[in-house]
Symmetry: C2
Amino acid sequence: MKLYKYPAVEDWKKLLQRPSMRMEDIEKQVTPILKTVQKDGDAALKAFSLRFDGANIDSILVSEEEFSQAEKDVDNDLKESISIAIKNVTKFHSAQKTDVLKVETMPGISCWRKSVPIQKVGLYIPGGSAPLFSTVIMIGAPALIAGCEEVFLCTPPNSEGKVHPAILYAAKKIGLTKVYKVGGAQAIAAMTFGTETIPSVSKIFGPGNQYVTAAKQLATKEGVAIDMPAGPSEVLVWADETANPTFIAADLLSQAEHGPDSQVILVSTSEDIIQKTEAEVEKQLSVLPRKEIAAKALEHSRSFLMKDEAEALKLVNEYAAEHLILSLDNAEDVAEKIINAGSVFVGHYTPESAGDYASGTNHTLPTYGYAKNYSGVSLDSYYRKITFQKIEKEGLESLGPHVERMAAAEELDAHKNAVTVRLNALKD
Amino acid sequence: MKLYKYPAVEDWKKLLQRPSMRMEDIEKQVTPILKTVQKDGDAALKAFSLRFDGANIDSILVSEEEFSQAEKDVDNDLKESISIAIKNVTKFHSAQKTDVLKVETMPGISCWRKSVPIQKVGLYIPGGSAPLFSTVIMIGAPALIAGCEEVFLCTPPNSEGKVHPAILYAAKKIGLTKVYKVGGAQAIAAMTFGTETIPSVSKIFGPGNQYVTAAKQLATKEGVAIDMPAGPSEVLVWADETANPTFIAADLLSQAEHGPDSQVILVSTSEDIIQKTEAEVEKQLSVLPRKEIAAKALEHSRSFLMKDEAEALKLVNEYAAEHLILSLDNAEDVAEKIINAGSVFVGHYTPESAGDYASGTNHTLPTYGYAKNYSGVSLDSYYRKITFQKIEKEGLESLGPHVERMAAAEELDAHKNAVTVRLNALKD
């Protein structure tokens, strides 16, 4: 980790830059996959599964037997942990439900807003080495809490045509009954255009590699919504002299192990803490199974020594971290002043991994600086908020003339006329 | 308007199709404009204003004198109407504020979610024949209610280098002090990259022609968020035999006058109402100032005669109209069953134009079928919802082992370790 001491404000933007993401080449590779799935449906999905996953798939839909087998294959301890994670995530997300908001803006004019679940939602869970059953909970449970009518999950099969049992177990546990064995850009294509087996959806959720990311971006051009723009995962730890370097180092490494493009930032007003943390990082790194990945991520990661809390706060808000750990004595006070972050971990005993798995908050968060303009996944992500209004005759009599006047001023006479014909009828 | 009687369900998708929107060619024209503004800043803005608006602009920022002059140029009646619109919009949007939501998911584990305003927001108001001061209110007032730190507006100058007084008056009235005289793709570029005068923003709001739409789409690739994907405006009127054909015809025309690509749909279970409405449309159309535009829009607009209320409801939800007028005797009951729409106008005396201007709801709404997956602009559009969590020692002692177990099952050992080092410290 390169250390920057008291960086000048004018250099912050450069120093806080993320590794560049250029998707054009990937898009060129992904476009023909999308087109083929649109044209050939299930046949294309099976062909791509054979080509990319080495899997010969008979039935794309996971069977009851596969769910039952998964239930047997997951050990009881893990089942208990998954239950607790689901319970906490459900508790926090259920609390996000909102009532219909109704306001009488003027006598005889009622306006209201109602949250209505998106009808068709598709979830994507990547395959690869680590079976991300935690993400099944994070993007699946809120969809079912919101009451989306049709919710299903796509995830790639391994070369034996199987899905990791923990993924199937978590899916079933939250109430998902439809899991399709298909991954990559072809899964996103299936959810975008629909195939014989897989229905098209209105919104796609879930992480993925760069092919999946590019496919999701292309899906938006076809009218499908996505959870949020993607980018490499990142953490910023802000630590003061009361922080424990062993804890902070572990937090930094928990992010670094995600991938070589992960970004890890340490901010402190204490040079001593920075030095001790760096030493701890070296120590802990050496025994990590994923140490090569983590080491690569650390190469482009940075420490910032700041002159005081106010400067540190500015830098932290400027970075807009996906995960922000406040390992500070006054962490709760500082948390009040955070204006740009995905999710904030407050205090010395709140590691990011608690939120990644089980505290109750969602782990699908805006990264790559998107925390400045996007929120993480929450119950809201599964709703549209539809507005309604009802105007009584007396309401139109008082508001109508103002609408007529404004429509005339905008030179939209038919807009004006829609009021005029009604006011005339009321005069009769 | 072409009439379809009892259309077969399998034909609905085709019959409800919107006019196609292909942006590729426009994107090619817009890309060099974006690049030039990124490179040359204000100089590029001035050059483009001269080229596209025929305006020779000295100062891009609207001056105090221009605001004062606008105040004089707007007549008192219109000022009063604008005040009422602002009051209603403010009342409905202020009511959308939410408190911090705090949940203790387990003893010693607190999770909370807080709405934090987006810091930098840019608004775009198109020029052209009609001065859309109503849109200034709709996208500007919520930004100021939300408490966005930096909010400004771009709008093209006319050939004399001036902005319509009603736009400046409405801007000042809601509390906007910075208005920049620049329009088109170059304005979007300025808000995306920043220039010497115009700051870059995190989110851009507002309607525009196809160049502005394309520029906004391209801006999202640069990390800027936008209010929503754009499309031609549309209305669906669902009328029963209690509806007044004169009212409905006026509503249909108020949408049709927006532009030749506007879409207008009439749904009814009464053939008599459809016929009477068509006759009224012809009658009212002939005296409209914008009759040529409206006639063009009507060419690709449709009426559907449906067999009963249930079928009509299905069709209406399938279309997912930007504006949905329920001119029905039981409109309030039916409104409960609407699951896809931008904004719903309930009952015979609730014309769309009331919501377009002054009832209190927002008029920036998802069109082109996007109502299936996007919400209209609301106070939420100006916030990020940031999550926080604080875990006490006892909370980590109970939750920690589950996090360790799940992290191990996902083969993410550093995630596990971030908990382990803390649990070890607690044992000491």
